[in-house]
């Protein structure tokens, strides 16, 4: 999965150098009690070094009107964050998702209907942005596949039941010689 060369590369990668203190030593040995400050220092270093994922919708984005905001949430849950794996823009911390959330709220504040907002997004990103794909030629199988299975199987069952009812009940075959012999042996034993 990871070639050993790449592994070593990762292994020797810059964390230790950049933070200046070395990574593993303070981790394997607990810091002294007076380490409050150095811990803080650590956090600062990390916060600077790595962009930390934010948790989805942020307070600064929330619209003052709760009705509008709840519509924005409803829409946000149905729009895909186009750079993420299976995440809606409401669940994603990506930059793009943030921009899309803002765009949704801008459109809503400007008086657009939900449908307008979806149309606006589809115009920019295509059908791909909709987590519920539109019903059209390309998605026919997706939408109708399962109900079709239900209908066909249900119909087949009904037909079979009707046919069975029409047929006279055939009594089971009488035992043949071999079976009779075995049965006798069993009953005697």
């Amino acid at each position: 999965m990871i070639g050993s060369r790449r592994l070593f590369f990762m292994f020797l990668s810059p964390l230790g150098e950049r933070s200046g203190e070395g990574v593993r030593r303070p981790l394997t040995q607990p810091l002294p009690l007076a380490g409050e400050r150095s811990l803080k220092g650590w956090l600062c270093v990390f916060l600077l070094l790595f962009t930390l994922p934010a948790l989805a919708v942020e307070p600064s984005e929330i619209l003052p009107d709760p009705a509008l905001e709840s519509r924005a949430r409803e829409i946000g849950r149905s729009l895909r964050c186009v750079v993420c794996q299976n995440q809606s823009i409401d669940d994603s911390s990506a930059e793009v998702a943030r921009d899309m959330r803002r765009a949704v709220r801008e459109r809503l504040t400007a008086g657009d209907s939900d449908r307008d907002v979806f149309a606006f997004m589809v115009a920019r990103y295509g059908d791909y942005v909709l987590l519920k794909p539109p019903f059209k030629a390309g998605t026919l199988v997706l939408w109708l596949g399962a109900p079709l299975v239900l209908l066909v199987a249900g119909a087949a069952l009904l037909v079979a039941a009707r046919r069975r009812r029409a047929q006279p009940i055939v009594p089971p075959k009488p035992l043949d010689e071999e079976e009779r012999r075995r049965l006798d042996a069993l009953l005697k034993g």
């Binding site: 999965m1 990871i2 050993s4 592994l7 292994f11 964390l15 990574v23 593993r24 981790l27 394997t28 607990p30 810091l31 409050e36 811990l39 803080k40 650590w42 956090l43 990390f46 916060l47 070094l49 790595f50 930390l52 994922p53 934010a54 948790l55 989805a56 919708v57 942020e58 307070p59 600064s60 929330i62 849950r77 895909r80 794996q85 299976n86 809606s88 669940d91 295509g126 059908d127 791909y128 909709l130 987590l131 519920k132 794909p133 390309g138 998605t139 199988v141 997706l142 939408w143 596949g145 399962a146 109900p147 299975v149 239900l150 199987a153 249900g154 069952l157 039941a161 069975r164 009940i169």
Partner: protein, 648 residues
Amino acid sequence: MVAELGHFALILALAVALVQGTLPLVGASRGDLRLMSLGRTAALTQAFLVLLSFGALTQAYVTSDFSVLNVVANSHSAKPLLYKISGVWGNHEGSMLLWALILALFGAAVAIFGNNLPDTLRSRVLAIQALIGVGFLAFLLFTSNPFERVFPAPPDGNGLNPLLQDPGLAFHPPLLYLGYVGFSVTYAFAVAALLEGRVDAAWARWVRPWALAAWCFLTLGIALGSWWAYYILGWGGFWFWDPVENASLMPWLAGTALLHSAIVVEKRDALKSWTVLLALLAFSLSLLGTFLVRSGVLTSVHAFAQDPARGMFILAFLLLVTGGGLALYAWRAPQLQGGGLFQPVSREGALILNNLLLCTLAATVLLGTLYPLFLDLLTGNKVSVGPPFFNATFVPLCAPLFAALCVGPFLGWKRAELGPALMRLRIALVVSLAAIVVAMTMIDSRSTLAALAFGFGVWLIVGSLASLSDRVRSGTLRTIPRSTLGMVISHASLGVVVLGSVATSSWNTELMQTMKPGDRVDFAGYSVLLERMDEVRGPNYIAERATLNVSVGGKPYTVLQPERRLFTVQRRQIAETAIQTNLLRDFYATLGEGDPRQGWVIRLYLNPLAPWIWLGAALCALGGFVSLSDRRLRIGAPSRKPVLQAAE
């Protein structure tokens, strides 16, 4: 040295599995008892060898043997012991070894507990089980060897994905695999039955405990995964219709259908070929799930293997197992004559409806999961299928299923009347209608659908318990067969799950606020004070921790301490939510980004009935285990004779 022993044991296990997968089959077709009895010994030997191999890898993890590549890539000396152990299966190679181990253990279990099986059937089942094992052992040895060494050994490892360093996720894979792999036994039974050309009540009774055990573990595994997602992902959701979740849901649905149709085979000697087909499908869907997750076709947290060679291997194996099983089915199934006749309105009819709906649900999930993939392959068009799609297709299909679920147990076998059954359910009907009205008027008047779903949850609980009312009245509750009791528990607990998921997703309260230490907010009748922010140090992470004092009416109520953990080795950040539950609702808090100047983003949720989702799921599995402990399955070797009794 130990790693080499483990590697060697794995090679031996493959050799044993090859023997176990061939000779007993020959023996069964020739009637050679010596060859047939080889299956039992081989199954035990194989289990021992794979266990040895697994033990060797575990040893390497626990002692942090960084000369083993797999340990270097997935472990770290500073990791707590629990996660050193769970790290064994927290990566591609190790998890496949766990899979092979559970497979071999199930094989050994069949060998041990299968004394009442006819020799030919048992040796065939063991052989099929071994052939599946050959596939996985070869997969391990040729594409994913967990014992590969690295030279020179680095001083320390890369650590485990922090998302996986969690008690919930430590036990999620073993439980899930017990479920997935458990269906391999039903698959083996189905193939063996097709080879023998014989499916009867005794066969159904032999298969049922295995299907039931697999189903229970799968239920627990899915529930644990969902619980983990709930508290780790930090926005209070519990099911995301992620392909990985769907991959585990499909075999669960097929397995549930199988459990029900096997009853019909056992009691009424009908639905034989359909039940065999379901047994084949349940395991095929388990394999499909493994393929989807392991191949990296659908990238997500779980796809730690993104190597096309592996994907191709699993895909080929999947096609072989599924295609082989289905081809054999097409060839032999027409010989399986159904016996019992019945009217559409009857217990059999209700169980067929159950199967029809469960299979449609499974088809919905399958289509929704694979459609984007196929569309992309065939036309290059991209399409997204997410939660809104499943909410629009999957959820409505549950309504008829839930409606029928309570009625079925009141219908007699062969021929029944709907009217009397509904009469006995009148209290349940009234109570659930009342619940809908209450939900509409008192909780939320806007969401009719949520109220309706809530009513269904109540219907499931009361309607399932209603089947006990006769026994309560006649004072025979104590003598109730465990299988019936298990059914009532599982059915009712489904209602508990429905209530929990409806309430938490429709009626939750949420607040998002930027706060500095000393700030106070009012939230749903509680007053929440951010007392202080601390920096804390864990064994292998450092964290920011918020201390939130929650009070009601001036009295202190609880203290919540959500954290943001930074795993230093992987440089990844994980939100550690704080949840206070009283079993009726969760008070859920997460800590977001922030600094002392601007304050921190605090998220508060009040999730009504949220704990019921996992409580219900656990109860559901408990029902399965209760049913598994039924006398009928424990004692008395079922013999090959028609079962005339049609009780329960």
